[in-house]
Amino acid sequence: MDNFKDAFRDEALELLNRLESTLLELEANPQDTEQIMSVFRTMHTIKGSAGMFGFDHIGGFAHTLESSLEEVKSGDVPFSKELAGLTLAARDHIRELLDAPEPPPGDLASYSAMLSEKFQSAVAEIRPGGATKVGAEPTANTRHAGTAPTGGALVTYRIHFMPKPDIYLNGTNPILLLQELSDLGMYSAVPYLDKIPPLSEIDPERCYVGWFVFLTTTASVDQVRDVFMFVEDSAEIEIQIIENLEDAVEEHGYKRIGQILSERGVIDAMMAERAAQAQRRIGEIFVDEGVSEADVQSALTEQDHVRRSRERFQSELASSSIRVSSDKLDHLVDLVGELVTLQARLSSTVGDTGEPEVISISENLERLVDELRDRTMSVRMVPVGATFSRFKRLIRDLSSDMGKSVDLVTEGGETELDKTVIERLNDPLVHLVRNAVDHGVESPAARAEAGKAGTATVTLGARHVGATVVISVKDDGAGINTQRVREKAVQRGIITEEESLSDDALYDLLFHPGFSTAQTVTEVSGRGVGMDVVKRQVEAFGGSVRVTSTPGAGSDFSLVIPLTLAIIDGLLVRLGENHYVFPLSAVSECIELHSSQRSQRRDSYISNRGEVLPYVHLRDVFNVPGERPEYEQIVVVQLADGPVGMVVDAVLGDHQTVIKDLGRMFRAVEGVSGATILGDGSVALVLDLARLGRIAVRKEKNHAAVSAIDGSAL
């Protein structure tokens, strides 16, 4: 049973997360009936599953919410901001209840009651006319809240409910009884309508309908029977257990229609056997034999109900996804890495022998290994969208706390990143988003003064740039006030009054420990935990932070994160005697560079398709000795700042690259991120392009300074 309960928790958590984002959207657009329906459905599902698994308190609570929302759903009561807020609070409360024991401790239970009351009064207030609606069905709220959890097994009941014709006389509406049953769990009902006479013959005050109800729940037989407590004398009620789900999960298939019908005494076993052997459609046979269509229909529904309830439990038990410890995954990735390396050796060895058959086998193996590699790597990749949507709530809470109006826009949520990286991104992003709302976005008054829309926009975006993913937090606020940053830095003694700094250098100051430009220390940020922490956290997994800002138009904090894959497609190049590997995803093209085009300077520019392309000689960066060949190759790579060319001796071709750690000793070496073993057993270095790009820029600046001095000396 605990398995089921865990499965219910997982399902509920997912539902609650979805509910949160729906509610936030509803808040912005309260007329969206689609979303209102979705909120209602979510509550309904939570109620149903909670009832089924014995979380009676949650079930009862969700039930009252659902009833209150009923009127919103039907359009009698408009969905208000207040209701959205209350529903959000209720969502948080259910979240808490999920972690609490069942039944929950007194304070939680009384909070449920308080929230339910608030809900009902909120709906009553908004309701046109303000009166309590008479039509509201007095369903089994108290039953739910009051029933002790059974912790019983999950079973499917077949309930035969035949009201006597005079059942209305004692004021019973059978529909309400059914409603009560449906609140207990997963529910299907089949009415028997055959006895309803034509209008001219009907006595409208008599009941002509009976039901077969199929109910999957943890409630005990007694609890199910309790529903009919007041009609026992005016109806025939037969309750049978047809299946215990925990036993049935392993079984396949369910009783045949004939079996079901003979079990119910509709047909005899002989006939069931005959029908099973006939070649015709089973439904037709029974109808021909005089079995009413309603009987066949209800047997079909029974089959269907059992199938669906099993499916639901199987999927909740096994779920469509499974949790695997990351250790196991890492181990798998390592093994695939070894396989890729071995495959590379095989390919190069086989290529030398020239045996066509062996070559063909090796090529096929290579294809399989490639796919195995891709699949293995993709297991760890998760879209960032789920992380992004969590920020909707944060923005909503922050902006209402600060009296600002802020919309969150997300872009590129489908971009995938390594799961571990995504987890570690959360803290820095929370900080940046808070920062954007607190410091970036102006107060409504200031926005009005600047002639901007009252509602500010914070954009969370993710995109691939070469072998990196750039996650940006953008706002359309006032931008970074460089003057203020400067003043503050001087005041804090970080820089001196005389130092002149470029804007970029000033932005860098924001990441200086303990730097904060907020005018006042607010709840949200400015508590001494500065942007330096963000920088440290991002750098811890090999990323970097870039800042751009336009005065009056907003600022953009981007996290550049390497796709830290253990196995990549690489481009193998040669520099002198040594081999190097470019991550292929960053490479956009290769261009030839003739010695005549070469400038004497170490870093230079060429024109490529009408664009200026800066390039850097890797021979110089790595101090490779020897003569340069007459024709060199420029490998053009896409970096976050744009394309940069890297000059190598020769491009050798693509290479499956299993990245190995260089070890502690070489951690400080700039420009390489790891090593890989080539087919012939030799080692090639994997280039860290982002770092190389920065080295290039730095050298360029130094060079410019040197040239300037050279020039002045002339």
């Binding site: 759903k73 039509g135 529909i175 449906s182 299907s188 409208p204 109800v213 066949v296 079909l300």
Partner: protein, 116 residues
């Protein structure tokens, strides 16, 4: 064509008078249109009435039509009672529901579904 507007309270207390209204309509016209959009409360007796009216129409060879949005109370009562799986979204879906019932009644040997 005669139009009968079903009352806000389609419950056991009112069904007798509604029944008479609908029967009157069948007397005077071969096409009767029931407007359901006013219904605010409905119980099993009310649902009976819809099916019974359909059966009456079939027997007389008359046409029974439905019109109006299906009110939420009616829709959810139909679902709870297992009369349909999803809430009917409009009068045509409700009409189809009654038609299915009438067909089942008319042709017992017809194309029934079955599975094994």
């Amino acid at each position: 064509m005669r139009v009968v507007s079903l009352p806000p309270s389609l419950t056991v207390e009112r069904v007798a008078s509604v029944r008479n209204d609908v029967l009157d309509a069948f007397q005077s016209s071969s096409t009767v249109l029931l407007s359901v959009s006013q219904v605010e409360r409905v119980d099993l007796a009310g649902i009976h009435l819809l099916y019974s009216a359909k059966r009456e129409a079939v027997r007389r060879g008359h046409t029974l039509l439905l019109s109006g949005d299906v009110p939420q109370a009616l829709g959810s009562a139909l679902v709870t009672g297992g009369f349909c799986v999803d809430v009917p979204r409009g009068a045509p879906e409700l009409e189809a529901l009654l038609l299915e019932f009438a067909d089942r009644d008319k042709a017992k040997t017809g194309d029934s579904s079955g599975q094994e």
